[in-house]
């Protein structure tokens, strides 16, 4: 097969992509849907999500309150119409997953349980022990097998979008096993490619989270929104970056410094350990700077203390936390605090879309972590992201189905063949032809990651950001002389590594430039030289457009419905 055509092509088999696929498939059994994924769908990084997924299900809660928490958490950068749309649809998704067999944890009365999470003012987070992403992903993946109109392209790596006369017409992908490029045409195309944590050195994200979809859209002229808004999660294992879920604090865990003190009383006494992540991560850095952190082989860290929860709670609600601490730190959280430090975790920013997932390129949609609607604004609340993948996954799948049905003709062949030829020249003749020299894939990648970590991390300032922008441009130059040792076409993971680095360099530049241009502090974007929020100048979304040089930065208004921005105090 050199070319195949579908009504809808979905890139990504994580929660967002699979939810979209099922919604589209179910809406009309005559629609043909391709799910293209660079890994088998159940390997997608959704699998690693631990803590839970938010929805209003109980009388003590309300949609209004979920919306307010989300908007306040976002430091008023979320679009309020999108948030209202989102919170209203979360409950249905929990029930839908229940009907598809997701093993939600249950209360003694047989109802779906809910736990506390950071920044959520009541118990709102639905969970399946602490393997929530794992269970959601496998439930969706297995349910997708019910639909004969979903066609999977497992281990196909997308290298480019096909744009035909200003309309997106599908993708070009490497069939990793066949070692060849193929064109997969679609009347509608959905990017559900997840985040880009691997642009940072210390991250909770898996190896595959390299921002491919963000770069694919960016290269096709679609702006990336709010890319400076990068979430750092406070509790990651030093050395590996493996996440210890916020549910550990939701269940009552403490954060302690080397004096054994619950130091959050200094920074956020009203919320303590259940404050939003941006504030918790900054507090950790401040504790470290004040010399009150523990010292370990991987630098300073703080303690996540679960001892007082007892073995029964830990084993029932947090079995994976125990498993990870035992396996990767060699300690049992029943008896010892777990060493933790902040690490990159999530991208609030992404491909700019509206609530239906539409981008500025007709026929192209984006959803999940790769997209920016935006409901997360400057800081996402934990457990809103899986819900986002589900709610907008469904909605985007239905919208793409509608769009595909209106377009009678499949895309024409000319642009497709041309793009295929261009990619063949770029990837197999070009990249693969390059001999190995001084620059290596791993070398340039590590430099980019360290640079981002140092200058575009939790605290930022003008000098560091300007330097990062310059350094990234130099790395881009050096990247052009990275060569390949593996000259075989079949399953060439050195080749995909180079393509991923290529994507990441674009994405990193968009993050650094967006951060440089936002001269205020808001949510996760914390400028030491501009410590205050500045609504007069920056109550707006950043839009980064790709150019041949530095990204062009523009802005768009934030949609306010009924919550006027006020100081974000807890």
């Amino acid at each position: 097969m050199e070319r195949a055509a579908f009504d809808i092509v979905i890139v990504g088999g994580g929660a967002a992509g699979l939810r979209a696929a099922i919604a589209a498939a179910q809406s009309d059994l005559d629609l043909s849907i391709a799910v293209v994924s660079k890994v088998y769908p159940m390997r997608s990084h959704t699998v690693s999500a631990e803590g839970g997924t938010a929805a209003v299900l109980r009388d003590y809660d309300s949609l209004e309150l979920h919306a307010l928490d989300t908007i306040k958490g976002s430091d008023f950068l979320a679009d309020q119409d999108a948030v209202e749309f989102f919170v209203a649809r979360c409950p249905k998704e929990i029930l839908q997953l229940d009907h598809w067999g997701c093993p939600w944890s249950r209360d003694p009365d047989g109802r779906v349980s809910q736990r506390a999470f950071g920044g959520m003012s009541v118990k709102r987070t639905v969970f399946a022990a602490d393997k929530v992403g794992f269970h959601i992903l496998h439930t969706l993946f297995q349910t997708s097998m019910k639909f004969e109109n979903i066609h999977r392209f497992d281990e196909y790596f997308v290298t480019s979008l096909i744009v035909d006369g200003g309309v997106c017409a599908g993708v070009i992908a490497i069939d990793l096993r066949g070692g060849r490029l193929v064109a997969i045409n679609g009347k509608a195309t959905i990017l559900a490619t997840g985040g880009c944590g691997r642009v940072y050195e210390f991250t909770t994200n898996g190896f595959i989270k390299t921002g491919d979809g963000m770069a694919l859209a960016y290269r096709a002229g679609v702006p990336l929104k709010d890319m400076e808004m990068v979430q750092f999660h406070p509790t990651c294992l030093p050395g590996t970056g493996i996440l210890i879920t916020e549910a550990a604090r939701g269940e009552g865990g403490y954060l302690i410094n080397k004096e054994g003190e619950r130091y959050m009383q200094r920074y956020l006494p009203t919320k303590m350990e259940l404050g939003p992540r941006d504030i918790l991560s900054r507090s950790m850095i401040q504790e470290i700077k004040a010399g009150r952190a523990f010292e370990g082989p991987y630098g300073p860290y703080l303690g996540l203390d679960l001892r007082h929860l007892g073995a029964a709670t830990i084993d029932k609600q947090l079995p994976m936390v125990r498993e990870l601490a035992e396996k990767y730190m060699g300690l049992d959280p029943i008896h010892e605090p777990i060493p933790v430090r902040p690490g990159q975790h999530y991208m609030m920013g992404g491909v700019s879309t509206n609530s239906t997932g539409e981008t500025t390129l007709p026929g192209l949609y984006a959803v999940g972590e790769t997209a920016c609607v935006s409901i997360n604004g400057a800081n996402r609340l934990g457990s809103n992201s899986l819900s986002e993948c589900l709610v907008f996954g469904e909605w985007c799948g239905l919208a793409a189905a509608q769009y595909a049905k209106q377009r009678v003709a499949y895309p024409r062949g000319t642009a497709t063949r041309e793009t295929l030829r261009r990619e063949e020249a770029r990837v197999f003749d070009g990249l693969m032809g390059r001999e190995r020299g001084k620059e290596t894939l791993a070398g340039v990648r590590v430099e980019m990651q360290q640079l981002m970590e140092r200058d575009v991390g939790i605290f930022r300032d003008e000098a560091g950001l300007a330097d990062a922008c310059g350094q990234l441009a130099k790395l881009r130059d050096r990247f052009s002389s990275v060569g390949l040792a593996d000259k075989d076409r079949v399953f060439n993971t050195e080749m995909t590594g180079v393509l991923e680095l290529d994507f990441m360099l674009d994405v990193a530049a968009s993050i650094a430039h967006s951060a440089l241009n936002r001269r205020e502090s808001r949510g996760a974007h914390s400028r030491t030289d501009f410590p205050a929020r500045d609504d007069a100048n920056y109550l707006k979304h950043t839009l980064a457009y790709r150019t041949d040089g530095a990204p062009r930065i523009d802005y768009s208004p934030v949609k306010i419905t009924k919550w006027q921005p006020v100081a974000r105090t807890y």
Binding site: Y40, S44, L95, W104, V112, F134, D154, F207, D488
Partner: protein
Amino acid sequence: MAERDVVFRVKRYRPESGGKPTYQEYRIPYRDDMVVLDGLNYIKDQVDPTLTYRWSCRMGICGSCGANVNGQPRLTCGTYIRDVHRGAVTIDPLANFPILKDLVVDFDDFLEKLASVTPYIVREESTDLTKEFVQYPEDVEAYRQQSLCINCMLCYAACPVFGASPEFVGPAASALALRYIRDTRDEGSDQRLARLNTKSGVWECTFVGECSVVCPKNVDPAAAIQTLKVLATMRHMRRLLMPGAASR
């Protein structure tokens, strides 16, 4: 942390260069907190970028990184070098699967088997989506163990029956069938048991039990298969005694 050396003996197979799989040795430095995957990544990044293997989460949940380490199927991200090295660590692709390249094997056959056991909730009539099902904690507990399978395929690599007759539905797919059969929300037991009561179904299993030994998530597929044999027999008896009566 002190650094020492270890030799990784890694099976190489390059389909495009022809020839048989061979071992290649790499001497690399390691620390006590390094897992086998860290060693492979060190080789890929610093020594030989052509070495090919799968990985992603490095936290034992995505199921990508299985390999035979010193002959035992294991997750390379969950196996410490210090625990397995005796001067050298031998790494082969997971046994019993066709090799695509180096440590990468072809799992497509498993995905077909998984699909064949109807791995989703089956209901006779459509359900009211505005209501949640009532499931008590003990109802969830009944299928929780089988629901923990990460599809890592270690059990298939350990299974001599699958090695000898590749059509055998195998441990993980069987465990997942039981997971849905035991779910109070499901009504599809009959079709699953019918599928598992075939020649390629659970009766192939001779109860070696290796699958449960190697399973990193304690799914205990061997026990699941034994339970399925009992359920399949009961279904069969019921059909003999009460022809026409469908079981739940």
